[in-house]
Assembly symmetry: C2
């Protein structure tokens, strides 16, 4: 089973990487880009075949390693 995890900085947390992308887009002539937030996407290939067990395992992985829950939020999607 495949899982996709999206990790984004929480709203209100400064995102210098996204801000740099916004500036760069402006310099390249792309007008009308109001804000940019950059995050991570992690695709996992799991041996687990049970959806509920996979969801629980991936959520635990996020809490322990994949996301810094102080400043980041995550979402898990099974595909």
């Amino acid at each position: 089973m495949k899982a996709r995890v999206n990790v984004m900085l929480k709203t209100g947390v400064l995102d210098p990487q996204g801000e740099a992308v916004r500036h760069a887009l402006g310099s390249l002539g792309f007008a009308g880009v109001e804000s940019v937030r950059q995050g991570k996407v992690i695709e996992l290939d799991l041996a687990e075949t049970d959806r509920a067990a996979a969801q629980a395992a991936v959520t635990e992985m996020c809490e322990k390693l994949l996301a810094n829950t102080v400043i980041e939020s995550y979402s898990v999607e099974l595909v």
Copy 2:
């Protein structure tokens, strides 16, 4: 209009970051993680309100800045 861009390394391109995550998950006791690929997600807030124009603009941003199309593939999603 909001757009979400997913940038992943193309299949076959070595992903040391993903590999490091896989090892770390193994060390933490998560068995059955067969492979991990890590990519970027970029959320853009656009002034553009026309879907087709927004899609075209974001695709051009990907080609010019957001993705290195030699080794990365991208997908654009309007939300």
